[in-house]
């Protein structure tokens, strides 16, 4: 990427700098705290967990006891330890699905936008319309029926649900950018289509692409967690927050923490992602109105 200009960082900066759009925004600050907390749990939770997440240590559904502040789940396993190790699947699968969403969505959007008002554009966008006309959870259920409930199917499902939105946004932005002088100059220089899309158009439409990254990421987390909750995704004994909530509904009367702990973890994760995304959108709004 020849046009990407790396901003030189000061050589003696001791701590990583927080981007302005977070530092200057109350919602962004809260979101960052939530997300850092959850990422920390996902990365290091399994190492600080007091017990093994998969070994029963006492009476199923028992409330808080010594060494087990959040009590035990429906099989007698330590809720705290399971909650601490349940973040990886939510974060990793959500992130993978988001990456896949953007890979497909950006590529199709660029192609359709650059070829605006041609057959390629028309066919791509009509296909996208069809994918959008089915409720998200139905798409997930059809794919699970067809392919079974593995991690890859969850990632694929979330990407299939979410790529049309990205394609639409990228197509609109790319079609607009494609009429600019510098793109026409590149066409006149005889540059290849791939090079034009990558070097001339893509860098100039990054803002609208990043703007709803947060929304898509939180949506993939929600979709995957929902399918896990329905018992159609990851299978036990996986410690996944969505799966934990559904497993432990039977012990709500004796130990509500068994569902409250994973639920709160999901709440923090989703709100954190959304708050950061909103802060970025507000930042874009401010800088464009200046």
């Amino acid at each position: 990427m020849s046009t990407a200009v790396a901003t030189p960082s000061p050589p003696h900066s001791r701590r990583p700098r927080i981007p302005a759009f977070i530092a200057a925004d109350r919602g962004g600050q809260v979101g960052l705290v939530f997300l850092v907390l959850i990422v920390f749990v996902a990365l290091f939770g399994p190492f600080i967990a007091p017990h093994s997440p998969n070994v029963p240590i006492g009476i199923p559904g028992q409330g808080s006891i010594g060494g087990s502040p959040l009590g035990l789940d429906q099989l007698g396993r330590d809720v705290l330890s399971r909650a601490l190790s349940g973040g990886r699947t939510a974060l990793a699968l959500g992130a993978l699905a988001t990456v896949a969403t953007y890979l497909v969505g950006v590529m199709l959007g660029l192609l359709a936008g650059y070829a605006r008002n041609t057959a390629l554009d028309g066919i791509t966008m009509r296909t996208v319309d069809i994918f959008i006309s089915l409720p998200a959870i139905l798409v997930m259920l059809v794919l699970v029926t067809a392919l079974g409930g593995s991690s890859w199917v969850l990632v694929l499902g979330a990407a299939v649900v979410l790529f049309p939105g990205v394609t639409r946004i990228v197509r609109t932005a790319a079609a607009e950018t494609a009429t600019r002088g510098y793109v026409e100059a590149a066409v006149a220089r005889g540059e290849k289509r791939g090079a034009i899309l990558r070097r001339e158009i893509l860098p100039n439409i990054m803002a609208p692409i990043i703007a709803d990254l947060g929304v898509r990421f939180s949506w993939s987390i929600i979709l995957i967690a929902s399918v896990n909750f329905l018992g159609l995704g990851l299978s036990p004994p996986a410690s996944d927050w969505g799966l934990m909530i559904s497993e432990n509904r039977s012990v709500i009367p004796t130990n509500p923490w068994a569902v409250v702990a994973p639920a709160l973890a999901l709440v923090l994760l989703i709100l954190g992602v959304n708050l950061l995304g909103d802060a970025y959108v507000r930042h874009l709004g401010r800088s464009s109105s200046r």
């Binding site: 319309d129 069809i130 006309s133 089915l134 409720p135 998200a136 959870i137 139905l138 259920l141 059809v142 794919l143 699970v144 029926t145 067809a146 392919l147 079974g148 939180s218 929600i222 967690a225 929902s226 909750f229 329905l230 018992g231 159609l232 969505g242 909530i245 559904s246 509904r249 709500i252 009367p253 509500p256 569902v259 409250v260 639920a263 999901l266 709440v267 989703i270 709100l271 959304n274």
Partner: protein, 317 residues
């Protein structure tokens, strides 16, 4: 007319996609239904009874033909179990009614609540009341339904012991005969869907409040309720129709997870059960049926908006 054609076209394309996804990819329905350990003769027999020994194109044709006649086909699992009444239409008639009850009650509560809370937030924009309405609404809208539902169960069943954690409805009775089973599912759907409408009504009210004719009315001495109902709400209402329609459309998907959380005997629970059992024929017919409802609501909303907002009518023609 063009919109109706587009809707039908989308539905047709969806039927191809859904059929292809559930039929072409792995193995076949008979195998999935009977499990891996099925004996070849049993498999063969079931395949024949389900019509799976025909070509894919032939099967798609007869499925689509059936759909057009209102025949949803037979459930593969029910046929495999030699159930006396294997037709999908028979199996889903009660769940569909139950789901309709749930969706209808939610919508009936949703519309006045949206208008009330949205107007309230709009009039007191950026004040404490506004934040007290808007912030929780946005938080609940961001959360997955099953998280909201589970937290509601913890509070209303676990702590207060006031409401049942599952919404069981005895076969042959209506969910309306035991209203308390409906409270938590409806509450979950409301919490998940209120925010979008509230935001829309709120910004509509804020916009109208800045119009000249409202200022003139204020200067003429109109105050409080008259001003609000006569001038502000009426003009903020039209754009809200679409958001209400979008919310109802949301319900088609949202109801699936919410029903499953509460084991409410509706179409969502039926579908999830069918997916769990890998009942391919039941899944494909139910999905297409729900997709048709979804597209139909979309279409009706478009027409209703055009009907209610005269400006759009002239712009279109």
């Amino acid at each position: 007319m063009r919109r109706i054609a587009a809707g039908l076209g989308t539905l047709l394309a969806l039927s191809v996609l859904v059929f292809a996804a559930t039929n072409v990819l792995p193995g076949n329905a008979a195998e999935l239904t009977l499990g891996r350990n099925a004996t070849p003769p049993a498999l063969h027999k079931l395949e024949h009874r389900l019509g799976f020994d025909h070509s894919i194109a032939h099967r798609y044709g007869s499925w689509l033909g059936g759909l057009l006649h209102g025949d949803l086909g037979n459930s593969a699992v029910a046929v495999a179990q030699n159930a006396p009444e294997p037709s999908i239409a028979h199996a889903i008639s009660t769940p569909l009614k139950n789901s309709a009850v749930l969706a209808l009650i939610t919508t009936l509560l949703l519309i006045p609540l949206t208008l009330l809370l949205g107007a309230f937030a709009g009039i007191h924009a950026r004040k404490k009341v506004d934040h007290m309405i808007s912030t929780p609404a946005l938080v609940f809208a961001a959360l997955p339904e099953f998280v909201t539902a589970t937290l509601l169960i913890v509070v209303f069943f676990g702590w207060l012991g006031a409401l049942p954690p599952v919404s069981l409805v005895a076969p042959g009775t209506s969910p309306l005969s035991n209203v308390e089973v409906l409270v938590l599912p409806v509450l979950t759907l409301l919490l998940a869907s209120l925010a979008a409408g509230i935001r829309q009504v709120r910004s509509g009210v804020i916009e109208v409040l800045q119009e000249d004719y409202v200022h003139v009315a204020q200067l003429n001495g109109l105050r409080g309720r008259t001003l609000l109902w006569g001038y502000v709400l009426r003009n903020a209402l039209a754009p809200s129709v679409q958001i209400v329609a979008q919310t109802i459309q949301y319900l088609v998907g949202g109801i699936i997870v919410v029903e499953s959380v509460f084991s409410y005997p509706g179409i969502g629970t039926y579908l999830v059960q069918a997916v769990t059992e890998r009942d391919v024929t039941a899944v494909q017919s139910t999905v297409i049926l729900l997709a048709a409802v979804y597209i139909l609501i979309n279409l009706l909303a478009d027409l209703l908006v055009v009907f209610l907002v005269p400006k759009l009518r002239t712009e279109l023609s």
